[in-house]
Amino acid sequence: MHLVLEQIINGLTIGSFYALIALGYSMVYGVLKLINFAHGDFFAMGSYIGYTVLVFLVAGATVSMGPWAGMGLAVLTAGVSLMAVGIAVERAAYRPVYRAGRLPAVVSALGASIFLQNVIMLVWGPRYQAYPADLIPAARIHFGDLTVTMLQLVILALSFALMSALYYVIQKTTFGAAVRATAHDRNTAALMGINFNRVIVFIFTLGPALGAVAGVMVGMYYRQISFTMGWNYGLKAFTATILGGIGNLPGAMFGGLILGVLEMLGAAYISAAWKDVFVFLILILVLIVRPTGLFGERTAEKV
């Protein structure tokens, strides 16, 4: 029994990575109807920035104040840096093509993804980088047979806090209402005096920042990062977004968590090598039965 629990906790941990990344996809999709292919690379870049901060800038802080301080600083710096990157990419690659329709924006997003990936490669080199073990918190907690690392708990708590904060902002604040209105109907929202560009800057600030936080946590959890990992995680997170129902924020969160748990249970009880096949099969089956995702709303088709 405790094996199942352990797998579920592992699943929730990686699920929370997917969920954080998925939120970025979902927000951008909700407002712009654009699959932001560069989003996975925001995540990878966040991971690399976190690595640099941890290893080169705050090693002193880690030694004097403990690994949690180092982790906090790395997460914070990566998040803030990626806000800047997100705004810059939106300004350079997306804003000029909004009016041309959806498909040019997809190509532009792929171009931005290639660009960012190669920036990472040029700055940090093409090889794997490893988060050093002694800079990462190693505490463990035992509940009877069940062993959980402190890092996992902190990852879960931090992800949950961030997701709740985002949920609060989107659902309860005036600005969140503006974002939802824009997602619902861009033209009407603009007529009501909502500044479309401010909404977009907002989502391109928060989305990449959340992705970057996930990036640092993935680095700490798996220790090893590579410049191409944005594609793998991006693909999974995008799957999570669709699983939950695209453009629906709670859907993206639950989609991520469900995907993570399914992946871990699939790996443990079916086959580790086939776990991704399992994940994609579930996705396809869900979409065949519910074509708008688990939590997606069925909207009447416009004719």
Binding site: V97, V106, N118, F238, F280, L281, L287, E301
Partner: protein, 333 residues
């Protein structure tokens, strides 16, 4: 009714023939003027042109977002590789077999998901492509050789008379296939099927209302697109003499997607331009070494700002009816 076949004017037709003819001459003359290395680049240009044409049926003609097209390409390549290395079936015989296998796979996989719309279809095709790749890596029934793939695929040959084993012969093999495909696709564009596809792309509901079987035509597009990708896979496998899952990643599907969108949706000359961009650019900018992909990404962005409809968009509404009297006069001759 015979007159309907003669819808476009004669002068216009000869002008339209001129550009493709010039291009055909260029493609034919090119390998005689350059080194083997450059011929190989021309070969890969041809492969990408074939893949672009195959995705263009699905994405360009019908407007279905397919980001898993590398899966069909992989099926074609692996069918050729496995049947050739295990049962010594000749590669040329395997070309139709690869087409059929990829088409059958597309039919089986796409039947249950064809009702999905837009981005939901997109993610399901991504999932399908990934499942194919992961399955190849996991080596089911010990057929696919796992991550290393399958080695030692034979040359395409007709007995000992004609063996395609040099760069220039492969070059012509792929470009002849491209030529035949273009001829087929152009006539398809002007047929009932092509018009039905375009109608579905513009408005699926209206298409349904006019009596077009939307589901069947969408499936047909997937099946034909997959068959062409299967042919590309066949040629690719015999050229490289080995296939591995690394050649059929999500990235490859994205490249095909870019070929169609950079060229212009539904435009055959556009696909050729897009394929040229994707395959030749990294070679031309080889001197920039590590920076070339950086430039590649930036150019994709700039291209979409400058020409959002693609480099060579398809002209619409080309059908013009000639006066009735003239037609009957022609018909009487």
């Amino acid at each position: 009714m015979r007159d309907l076949q003669n819808l476009s004017g004669g002068g216009l037709r000869s002008a339209r023939l001129l550009a493709p003819l010039a291009f055909a001459c260029l493609v034919t003359a090119y390998p005689f003027a350059v080194s083997d290395y450059l011929i190989d680049i021309g070969f890969f240009f041809g492969i990408y042109a074939l893949l672009g044409l195959s995705l263009n049926i699905v994405l360009g003609e019908v407007g279905l977002f397919d980001l898993g097209h590398a899966g069909f390409y992989a099926i074609g390549a692996y069918v050729t590789a496995v049947l050739n290395t295990r049962y010594q079936v000749p590669v040329l015989v395997l070309m139709p077999v690869s087409c059929l296998a990829a088409a059958l796979f597309a039919y089986l996989v796409c039947s249950p998901i064809i009702h999905l719309k837009g981005d939901y279809l997109c993610i399901v095709t991504i999932g399908m492509g990934e499942i194919v790749r992961l399955a190849l890596i996991n080596n089911p029934f010990d057929l696919t050789g796992g991550p290393n793939g399958v080695f030692g695929i034979d040359f395409p040959r007709v007995g000992n008379l004609l063996v395609v084993d040099s760069s220039i012969e492969y070059y012509f093999l792929v470009w002849i296939t491209v030529g035949v495909s273009i001829a087929g696709l152009v006539s398809l564009q002007h047929s009932r099927i092509g018009r039905a596809w375009n109608c579905i792309r513009e408005d699926a509901v209206a298409a349904q209302a006019t009596g077009i079987n939307v589901r069947a035509y969408k499936l047909l597009a997937f099946v034909l697109g997959a068959a062409l990708a299967g042919a590309a896979g066949n040629i690719y496998a015999s050229k490289l003499m080995c296939v591995s899952p690394e050649s059929f990643t999500f990235w490859e599907s994205c490249l095909m997607f870019c070929i169609v969108l950079i060229g212009g949706m539904g435009s055959i000359p556009g696909v050729i331009v897009g394929a040229a961009f994707i395959s030749l650019f990294p070679e031309i900018f080889r001197p920039f070494a590590m920076y070339r992909m950086l430039v590649f990404g930036s150019i994709m962005i700039v291209m979409m700002m400058v020409r959002p409809g693609g480099f060579w968009p398809r002209k619409r509404g080309a059908v013009t009816l000639r006066p009735l009297m003239e037609d009957t006069a022609d018909g009487a001759v």
